[in-house]
Amino acid sequence: MKKMEKKNPNRKRLKKIRYSRKLYLPLYIMILVLIGFMIYIKYSGRGINEMAFKVVLAFIIIIILATEIHRFGEVYHLTENAVILNSGYFGILSKRMEFEAISDMQVLQSAWQRVWNFGDLQMFKFAPGPTLKNINRPNAFAEELEKIMARAKAGEHDEE
């Protein structure tokens, strides 16, 4: 293991990031509305139709499963020297962006994303590059990434 680390020091993973669950808030709100409505029906002395109950239950299960599966479709790894973007479920497309190649970054947030403080972080190699989508606190992450990049670049200069 030590040998491996010496051979590939840039493979040491500092952080693993997936889509923020805040992305699915509208869906979670739908589930809560349906559950709340059924509780209201129950406590107002009315019966819940068996078929309607099954439909709601199926909807909730499908939403929870679909959101969790969707999250697994894209994973971002932050190493000491690069950002790795893995996408796919069975066949994986792995894009590697070395810190040296990153010229610039931009944070994209819609109004909804600003309210809940999540969004996209797009990297540039003098032209638009890969995007880390729907990550939590993108501005804080961009700052953290800049610091790591600065440290990595400083380390390289020291070695020279």
């Binding site: 509208p26 349906l34 009315r46 019966g47 139709n49 309607a52 994209l108 032209a127």
Partner: protein, 225 residues
């Protein structure tokens, strides 16, 4: 010579709203469906008709009796409908209702019903109850111990019931008609309706065996003929 320039156009990536619109559509459909089945048409999707889940008699003899009332009667079973008129207070889902008189109809009752000339005791669970025409649905516990003027049990089962009765007994599609005068009336494995109004006591249904006085009619005898 023309200088080549690089133009970087930063645009927001277009996000597909198609999935979200579809999900909102599905959500609205489910919400409206739940509303419809709870507030407008609670019977939606239910199979109509009666499912016989008790050991009823499929090929029994028909029984129609109009007799004087037994001193007491007790049955503990599931029945499709209970219709009654009671006096005084009663409990529905642990809530006490104080009414002078009330007309009660219950669907899918499962529990115990017993009565004598004056008093009626009903204890069990129902899926729907109408109190003076106002419906309450759900799994509802009911408890009555009241004076009553009318009782009808719809599609119930009793393994055996007998008493000394006076009145008319019609058996096997009126092939046998017996006028009882304080003589034994007996049914075995009876499925059907019971109606009691004042001193009048009616049974309509089918039984495996029925006895009126000295005459006994059995479904098994008829099958062998």
């Amino acid at each position: 010579m023309v200088e080549e320039g690089v133009e970087a156009v930063l645009t927001h990536p277009k996000k597909s709203r198609k999935w979200m619109l579809m999900l909102i559509g599905v959500f609205l459909f489910i919400f409206i469906f739940v509303f419809y089945t709870s507030f407008i048409n609670p019977d939606f999707g239910k199979i109509t008709g009666n499912v016989i889940s008790q050991p009823g008699v499929l090929n029994g003899i028909s029984v129609q009796v109009n007799l004087d009332s037994p001193e007491n009667f007790k049955v503990d079973t599931r029945m499709d409908k209970v219709d009654m008129k009671v006096k005084g207070s009663f409990e529905v889902d642990d809530k006490r209702y104080e009414l002078e008189t009330a007309s009660i109809v219950m669907d899918n009752f499962n529990g115990e019903v017993s009565f004598d000339d004056d008093n009626l005791v009903v204890e069990g669970k129902v899926t729907k109850i109408f109190i003076e025409g106002i419906p309450i649905t759900g799994k509802i516990k009911v408890k009555f111990d009241n004076e009553y003027s009318y009782l009808k049990l719809g599609n119930f089962y009793t393994s055996s019931f007998s008493y000394d009765a006076s009145g008319i007994v019609r058996l096997d599609d009126e092939k046998v008609v017996v006028n009882l005068d304080d003589e034994l009336f007996k049914v075995k494995k009876f499925t059907g309706d019971l109606e009691k109004r004042g001193k009048s006591f009616r049974l309509t249904g089918i039984a495996e065996e029925a006895q009126a006085g000295l005459i006994t009619v059995k479904a098994s005898d008829r099958d062998t003929e």
